[in-house]
């Protein structure tokens, strides 16, 4: 499913968080939204997920404006927020059942999908445990299972690997990539960690609310001169901050 962000600007009062952001995502693969803290990534996720109303510009999902069809857009979206949104005192299964109900799934349908997602996330044995008892990596897996329950075609992960150890981060990243391959999911993976991006990934670089570059990661990092993505990101961010002559 295609995602097209067109001329989106957003301000918190006086503070401009996004300025004329334009980019498109490649369907059926992991699209990295790269930027330092405060770049506007979470604001963009909040706009995509309709937690914030668009102030300027539009976002199209398969050509459908989320401004005009917000509820149709929400049916296509699964979101894993930066901050955990699981109810810690409910069990894994109860958390999933709550989400399924919010999407209008019947109990029988929800039970089938929960079983399938838990099996896929290898959480079947822990389904009756309270979320409070799970470690960070497992909680993230529960959140991904939850985000996929209503079978969305787009998955937004807002700094989903923050707070995880190196091994869990790598496992999560690989897991999401496998989901793209298996289900043709379009994923937006926001991060400030460059090692989570592969050379073949489409990347949008955001800094201070502006898109500073977009393209395939290896093309952006100027492979011929062996410049790393990190160097490229710094160079492009610096260039975007320099005043125009």
């Amino acid at each position: 499913m295609s995602i097209c962000v067109q001329g989106v600007s957003f301000a918190y009062g006086e503070r401009q968080a996004l300025r004329q952001v334009d980019f498109s995502c490649q369907p059926g693969c992991l699209n990295a939204l790269l930027g330092p803290n405060g770049a506007g990534k979470s604001t963009l996720v909040a706009l995509l997920s309709r937690l914030y109303d668009l102030q300027q510009g539009d976002i199209l999902l398969d050509g459908l404006s989320i401004r005009q069809h917000p509820r149709a857009a929400l049916r296509q979206l699964g979101v894993v927020f930066q901050q955990s949104t699981l109810d810690l005192d409910l069990s894994v299964r109860q958390n999933l059942a709550y989400h399924a109900a919010l999407h209008g799934l019947s109990r029988r349908e929800a039970a089938q999908r929960i079983d399938a997602e838990l099996a896929r996330q290898q959480l079947g044995e822990r389904q009756h445990e309270r979320v409070r008892a799970l470690n960070g990596g497992h909680r993230r897996r529960v959140e991904i299972a939850r985000a996929l329950l209503h079978q969305p075609r787009i998955l937004l992960l807002d700094e989903a690997s923050v707070g995880l150890d190196q091994a869990s981060r790598r496992a999560l990243n690989q897991h999401v990539r496998a989901l793209c391959d298996e289900q043709q999911l379009t994923v937006i993976w926001t991060t400030h960690l460059l090692d989570e991006i592969l050379p073949s990934d489409p990347v949008v670089m955001l800094n201070r609310g502006r898109v500073v570059a977009q393209g395939q990661a290896d093309a952006l990092s100027n492979g011929a001169t062996q410049e790393s993505l990190s160097d490229a990101f710094e160079r492009l961010s610096r260039a975007s901050e320099e005043p125009a002559l």
């Binding site: 506007g40 979470s42 937690l51 979101v79 109860q94 209008g104």
Partner: protein, 263 residues
């Protein structure tokens, strides 16, 4: 979306409230201890000092405990309504509100689901309180307990919608305690829950009018009359009208942006 999907959503929201309620046993106990203290300690001391004349819906002289029973039922509803709104503020701060807002169903419907769920949880507590009161020989008519159910539900919806409206104006969890003191206590004490309105009028005319205009007074009177299988039209209209008004205001002032995280 179909009607069945709306119903599934309502069931899900209610189930979550039930689960949270049953897991928080201390909340249940404190909801019962508070009115029981009023009923068994405060009222016991006051019954000799305070005479209650025969006023509708009562057809005979009654004990003070009998008089304050409907008010204490509504006290449970009031505390629960405010507790419900506290949980909305908590959900907002903890991020779980975003799960609710990611539903493709209309947000006013989601808020009404929350209201109904909170109200039904309150009803269980009221009936548990009435059962304990029954054991202490404070017994409204048996059929009245059944007849009071719709009145209690309406009162619970009214007070929960007021709580929801208040929660929209509260930015942080820490601010909530102050609001509770400025809302719960005035609503409860400036009402007919503890004393009949004519007693208030004997004391002060302006105090009487404050009590007469208090929505909580009408909730108490609605329940009081229903417990004795009588109908108080004024109380019904006030409760119904204010419930709709508070719910509408809560939906209109609800700001989903507060539920999101800035990045």
């Amino acid at each position: 979306m179909t009607a069945a999907q709306y119903l599934n959503c309502l069931q899900g929201v209610m189930q979550r409230e039930w689960l949270r309620f049953f897991q928080q046993r201390s909340r249940f106990l404190s909801a019962l201890v508070r009115p029981l203290l009023w009923l068994l300690v405060f009222a016991a001391g006051f019954r000799a000092a305070l005479g209650v004349s025969i006023i509708p819906p009562y057809s005979t002289y009654i004990t003070y405990e009998t008089y304050i029973l409907p008010g204490l039922c509504c006290m449970i509803l009031l505390f629960n309504g405010m507790q419900g709104s506290l949980s909305m503020v908590y959900d907002r701060e903890m991020g779980s509100m975003r799960v609710l807002l990611m539903s493709p169903l209309p947000r006013p419907f989601l808020l009404l689901c929350k209201l109904l769920a909170t109200a039904l949880v309150s009803l269980i507590q009221v009936y548990a309180f009435l059962a304990i009161a029954w054991c202490f020989d404070i017994r409204p008519p048996l059929w009245g307990l059944l007849a009071a159910a719709p009145a209690l539900l309406l009162a619970a919806l009214l007070l929960s919608s007021l709580g929801l409206l208040l929660s929209n104006g509260i930015r942080q969890l820490e601010n909530f305690a102050g609001v509770m003191n400025f809302v719960i206590f005035p609503l409860f004490f400036l009402s007919s829950a503890l004393y009949p309105l004519w007693k208030m009028r004997e004391s002060s005319e302006w105090l009487y009018w404050l009590c007469a205009l208090n929505p909580f007074t009408h909730a108490v009177e609605l329940v009081r009359f229903a417990l004795y299988q009588q109908f108080n039209l004024t109380a019904l209209l006030v409760c119904l009208g204010l419930w709709l008004l508070f719910s509408l205001a809560a939906v209109l002032t609800f700001n989903p942006q507060r539920a999101a995280v800035r990045g």
